[in-house]
């Protein structure tokens, strides 16, 4: 990537931050442009879990994010936990099946090749960047190194946003990423109390139910919170 291009991007991000433009979305669009992929998404993670989506470039990547959140498996999860880029050039005919639950629905949504890059700063892991292609294919070496460079810009941006936040609170843009998953955590709390299990187990059960019922996890969570659904 042209260093000037990178410098322009960083400057554009500064500008966005000061005038409230959706930084996450812009980062994703930039990834799509520079890397020449079909879509990009940014996932915030902690404790090995997908916590929220910071930005998406299109609806298909939203599905990819949602699947990973629901299933707890996928390229971003692997990239985050292994701290390495993860590449699957053909989800429909993989050399080895890595994500049994994720692959089918992802392919149906239009994802053929999928890649995950860890987002980190020093030893702190922040999440992952996911990229997809609507046809099978690999990323060229120059695309790989550009993706790594963009992952760094994204990490730095996330930290820069947080640097301006009030102590103890998440920066508003990051909080917004978590906001729509709040209901899932509320549901986990309720279920953990009802069944006298830990919140992690409760989340697993909600996930399993959403998967087996083929329903978005947020919908299932909402039903639990509204007491319309009782899980065992």
């Amino acid at each position: 990537m042209d260093p000037q291009r990178l410098a322009d991007l960083v400057q554009q991000l500064e500008h966005d931050r000061s005038n409230g433009t959706q930084v996450g979305a812009r980062l994703c669009e930039t990834c799509v442009e520079i890397l020449d992929v079909t879509g990009a998404g940014i996932m915030l993670m902690s404790e090995g879990e997908h916590r929220g989506t910071f930005g998406v470039s299109n609806d298909v990547i939203s599905v990819v994010e949602d699947l990973q959140f629901t299933l707890g498996e996928g390229p971003c999860i692997d990239a985050f936990t292994s701290d390495q880029p993860v590449c699957e050039p053909d989800l429909r005919n993989p050399a080895a099946v890595r994500w049994p639950a994720f692959s089918g629905p992802a392919v149906e949504a239009g994802v053929r090749a999928v890649f995950g890059f860890p987002l980190e700063s020093g030893t702190t892991r922040l999440g992952a960047l996911d990229l997809y292609l609507d046809e099978p294919g690999e990323l060229r070496p120059d695309q790989m190194s550009d993706a790594v460079a963009l992952a760094k810009v994204i990490s730095d941006t996330v930290l820069a946003l947080q640097a301006d936040a009030s102590p103890g609170a998440l920066a508003p843009e990051l909080d917004a990423s978590l906001h729509n998953r709040a209901v899932v955590h509320q549901a986990s709390g309720m279920l953990s109390s009802r069944l006298n299990i830990g919140v992690r187990d409760a989340l697993s059960r909600i996930r399993a139910y959403a998967y087996s019922d083929s329903r978005p996890i947020n919908d299932v969570a909402r039903d639990i919170v509204l007491r319309r659904l009782t899980l065992d």
Partner: protein, 239 residues
Amino acid sequence: MTTREVMITDTLVTLADTMVRDFDVVEFLSLLSTRCVDLFGAGEAGLMLADESGRMHLTASSSHEMRLLELLELQHDEGPCPDAFRTAMPVLCDDLSAAADRWPTFAPEAVAAGFQSAHALPMRLRDEVIGALNLMSTHAGPLPPDDVAVAQALADVATIGILQHRAAQESKLVKEQLTYALNSRISIEQAKGVVAHQLSLNMDEAFKALREYSRHHNQRLIRTANDIVERTLDAADLG
């Protein structure tokens, strides 16, 4: 290399070395002060760093002799150090007995303490000035140009070390805050769910209960939330 050159090189290497290991600003600057005395035949040396409002504070000196410390501390807004800090230029005073107009408080006190010349080099990196290096001598007379150059170089190296350390500290802090804030956010939502179930409330009411308990017990909301989630606090006790 001359003995002096060896000493200068050694000082730079030692300074660089301290920057890599566990960095202690005071230890670092104390070392620099001591070396300056050796290198420039200064009677004493001191380092002052500016706070957010631009006021200088003594951070290290070549000795802890009371008179010296008091003299250096006198410079919070008048003297060679504040001048070097403000102008970002070396401030060289060959004869303190003639400097009463320039520094009406500092100059007479310095002379009374036995010093006849005082020089200050700004600690700067590009546009940023963070403090000043102060050299005090018991003889009157100029600081030779070579010495000015070397002293400025040492001040610059010290500045880089301190700024890098500050940046690393800030960065580390932000990362910790991000992790903490992320996990807190989630814990609070989970706690709302637990309370909502246990007390048959909706989420708003559950949140209110958590907040009121926290306020009443003078503890942070996140602490209450964690206790609820971990079951060390019962929702029934939220009262």
